[in-house]
Subunit: 200 residues, 2 copies
């Protein structure tokens, strides 16, 4: 089955919105979704980007737009206290879950991490929070913690982020469908036309 590559950062609200909607869109067009957690902090070193909400004037609007967009799409959202935050541990955790338990469980875990951050208000940069989410998902938190801190996983995430950047990924959410790239939750409409017609 052809795939949709879905790139996201765990501290990206629009990435969270996309995560809540992409599986349904993909299923409609018989696509699988390959989930790629990335680190915007690392990507911004190349692109000169800044966390959206830290930009003068634009940042204030963005905070408002995030809440309004969640409401518009009927997606639960509570602005987290710690925002944005480091998502290395969350990203590595998802990679480990994928390797140990497969893609379906990893996607379920990723959604649980997003909800923990953007609905339940947990600090997902805290290893204890990641361990708690893992436990709730029936994943051994001790094995997970050990793997998260392994050199192998750290290196692999760096490679994954570099590969994403090489494919043109500069923000979250970012989608690549066949050779077509789409940035932003705002591009679902255009992406759907491409999925349907194979051309846009």
């Amino acid at each position: 089955m052809a795939a949709i590559d879905f790139y996201f950062d765990f501290s990206s609200p629009y990435g969270y919105f996309a995560a809540m909607r992409i599986e349904k869109l993909a299923a409609k067009y018989e696509r699988e979704v390959r989930w790629h957690p990335v680190l915007l902090g690392a990507i911004f070193k190349t692109t000169g980007g800044m966390p959206l909400t830290t930009i003068p004037v634009k940042g204030e609007y963005a905070m408002y737009d995030i809440v309004r967009t969640a409401r518009f799409h009927d997606i639960p959202y509570e602005q987290p206290q710690q925002f944005p935050l480091s998502t290395q541990i969350a990203a590595r955790a998802m990679m480990v879950v994928q390797q140990m338990h497969g893609s379906a469980k990893a996607v379920k875990f990723a959604k649980a991490v997003y909800r923990a951050y953007f609905v339940r208000g947990f600090n997902i940069a805290d290893p204890a929070v990641i361990a708690q989410i893992a436990t709730e998902q029936g994943i051994d938190p001790d094995v997970l913690a050990e793997e998260i801190n392994s050199e192998r996983i750290k290196v692999q995430l760096k490679v994954d982020v570099a590969q994403a950047l090489a494919r043109g990924v500069f923000g979250s959410p970012f989608f690549i469908v066949d050779s077509e790239s789409f940035w932003g939750f705002d591009r679902f409409e255009q992406m759907e036309v491409f999925l349907r017609d194979g051309i846009i």
Copy 2:
């Protein structure tokens, strides 16, 4: 009649798309549109913004997205050679047309400037091009040129841009409907719900 405040820069492709669509949306909800040409260059000095297409990685995507979005919405678009460019003269020209000939003619003039740049490939930073557009619109180009260079109009544009920034305008297109702000051609859908329901 209640208004929609529409802020745009004449070198903004998404501003051009919005300019081609906003009157129809406004008419549907019996709103008038107040057109405010602004200078993103001046605004970016406060916000630290950069012309979209000059940002590494993101810029290349943006160039592609602009063309694809024009096609998606069936709006004629030819990527200009000079891009982006200074829009002070175009903005001042629109202000002069508004003062001398009223809003309807100014809006017609603004659309002609946008089409000259994004369809006909003219360099709208060139006073001779602005003079040609004016002539095509039945506006005396000599009177216009004189007013464009008047201290009064220069100061007024600076004031207008400062006021826009004070209202939170940081990009193009930007809309303020009653107390609700919307940034981007992507927000027409949400703006329409607000126009229809008075709440979003």
